[in-house]
């Protein structure tokens, strides 16, 4: 899993001189899983994906893909070729000079089934709805048999149902061994599907220290409900809906050497796994409570706790600090 498919070093990109759009000192992309570049419009997400896809020349620095690794980019509003869905899906094979044969039709049917468009072969590509077009574009990208699939803002301009279907599709892609790289400004999508999130702001990636937990939500009548994790359950706000992911901001997590009596709060015990400075006189302390939980503590608290690796600490956070997605 940790094998690196692409290394970015000292990357600078600008459309016009003097207006940098991307500035990345170091970023490694790993094989497998779903990586999401999250950021607002104009944060450089699309540009970064285009650079990774080799569609834009790098003005400075390096983007090195492992030998033989290819990536295919599915654009925000995909361009579908004239003709039928089947013709669209055949082009990537033609471009690679793959010989024609019966397997082609089998493969097309299989890929269409995979993206949830079984039986769409003969439909006119340009007459499909937005969500269907996106899925055809994903199917077409899959026909290129690239180990890396990149999707730019996949759930922009699609309804909630399609968004949910796309989400399932991404997890499905991941399960089939494809490395998926997404760009989005949608927190919900980012948290629910990603194995790793890289935030981009002004073309600069930065590390977020949020704790992202996968589990199941149990709605309870009242102020608080439960979010079940393996071996434990967190108290969280009661909200109707289907949630798969709980997110904790590091600054919402308090650490203490002793158990604290605080009614209704989530309190977990764990051992310190890692300590690292995060600038501005703050430290990120990772406590293993069955899962790695990150807390951001100010310098003064750090002095009091004197956390060392292996030390036992209690993590405390309010139910309302548990954000559900």
């Amino acid at each position: 899993m940790s094998d690196i498919i692409c290394r970015i070093r000292d990357l600078k990109f600008a459309y016009e001189p003097g207006v940098p759009v991307l500035s990345i000192d170091e970023l490694n992309l790993e094989r497998g899983g779903i990586l999401t570049f999250r950021g607002h419009n104009g944060s450089g997400k699309t540009t970064l994906l285009k650079v990774l896809a080799g569609l834009l020349p790098v003005s400075r620095g390096e983007v090195i893909f492992n030998d033989g690794e290819r990536s295919v980019l599915v654009q925000q509003e995909p361009y579908l070729f004239q003709g039928s869905v089947k013709q669209n899906l055949l082009y990537p094979l033609k471009f690679r000079g793959v010989s024609s044969g019966k397997e082609r039709s089998g493969k097309i049917a299989e890929v269409l089934e995979f993206v949830g468009l079984g039986g769409f072969e003969k439909r006119k590509a340009r007459h499909l709805s937005g969500g269907e077009s996106k899925r055809v574009a994903i199917a077409r990208a899959l026909m290129a048999e690239s180990p890396v699939l990149m999707l730019d803002e996949p759930n922009a301009n699609v309804d909630r149902a399609t968004s949910g279907a796309l989400e399932e599709l991404f997890l499905h892609l991941k399960a089939s061994g494809i490395t998926v790289i997404l760009s989005t400004h949608d927190d919900r999508l980012a948290y629910r599907v990603s194995d790793r999130i890289v935030d981009l702001e002004g073309g600069v990636p930065f590390q977020h220290y949020e704790t992202i937990l996968k589990g199941s939500y149990e709605y309870r009548d009242g102020m608080y409900s439960l979010f079940h994790l393996q071996g434990t359950a967190l108290s969280c706000p009661s909200r109707h809906g289907e949630y798969t992911t709980a997110v904790l901001s590091p600054s919402d997590v308090l650490l203490s050497k002793d158990r604290v009596k605080k009614e209704g709060y989530n309190q977990l015990d764990g051992v310190v796994e890692a300590v690292s400075p995060s600038g501005e006189d703050r430290y990120i302390i990772t406590v293993n409570c069955g899962f790695p939980l990150r807390a951001s503590v100010p310098g003064a608290a750090y002095e009091l706790l004197k956390p060392l690796k292996g030390m036992k600490l209690y993590a405390l956070f309010s139910p309302s600090a548990v954000h559900l997605f």
Binding site: K50, G54, L73, Y79, Q82, Y91, P92
Partner: protein, 225 residues
């Protein structure tokens, strides 16, 4: 009004000379537009997709040549193929070849410039999609043309409209020779000067019908893009 009735009668009678004149016009125009497309479509793409020193100048020249007067082209080619000209020994003057050369020169800038314009308006996602899916070399260009076939065809049809309706080149280089280089436009010109309007009017009506047809086809092609 009598003349108009006569003209329609002539069209409906299927007069062999009238048919021959129409076919000659269509033949000349079709050959010259095919040749001009073979050169102009790649040239239009090249001028947009490849940067080289002096490209802007070439574009300015080609755009100016769109307005080339037919008689100037006629005069230019005439001076080349006339007995005393550098190509005089080939004996091309007043032959279909001379007309086609003239029409080719006339319409090449139109096709090139219009294709260049259409390529400039190309959806930027098209080349990106082709590249990310692994298209390269001739396949890449083939796909660009294929995806833009409607707008390229409309450029070609515009050129066809120009050559089928021109009279200067056909008259000066073809010489309006009966059963040989006589075209719709040269006939109209001749018949009118003789004061015989029926045949001229009949041919005029046919020419208008061709123009309508071309416009109709262009609209359909662009709509289905």
């Amino acid at each position: 009004m009598n003349v108009l009735t006569e003209a329609f009668k002539l069209i409906l009678s299927g007069d062999p000379e009238l048919v021959e004149i129409c076919l000659t016009s269509l033949r000349f125009s079709a050959i010259s537009i095919v040749l001009a497309s073979l050169a102009g479509i790649p040239l239009g793409f090249f001028l947009k997709l490849r940067d080289f020193p002096g490209r802007k100048m070439v574009l300015v020249v080609i755009n100016s040549l769109m307005a080339l007067p037919t008689v100037v082209v006629g005069l230019f080619v005439y001076s080349l193929v006339a007995r005393s000209g550098p190509l005089g020994s080939l004996g091309l003057l007043f032959t279909p070849v001379a007309v086609i050369i003239g029409q080719f020169i006339l319409v090449l800038p139109i096709v090139t410039s219009m294709v260049h314009g259409r390529v400039s308006e190309m959806d930027p996602r098209l080349p990106e999609t082709l590249r990310t899916l692994g298209a390269s070399g001739p396949r890449y260009y083939f796909m660009l043309v294929r995806e833009m076939k409607g707008s390229i065809a409309s450029a070609v049809l515009a050129g066809f409209g120009r050559v089928i309706g021109e009279v200067g080149v056909s008259m000066m280089l073809g010489g309006n020779i009966r059963w040989y280089t006589r075209t719709i436009t040269t006939t109209i010109s001749l018949e009118t000067s003789k004061g015989e309007f029926e045949l001229g009017l009949a041919l005029g009506i046919i020419l208008m019908m061709i123009a309508f047809l071309l416009n109709f086809l262009t609209h359909r092609l662009v709509r289905y893009e």
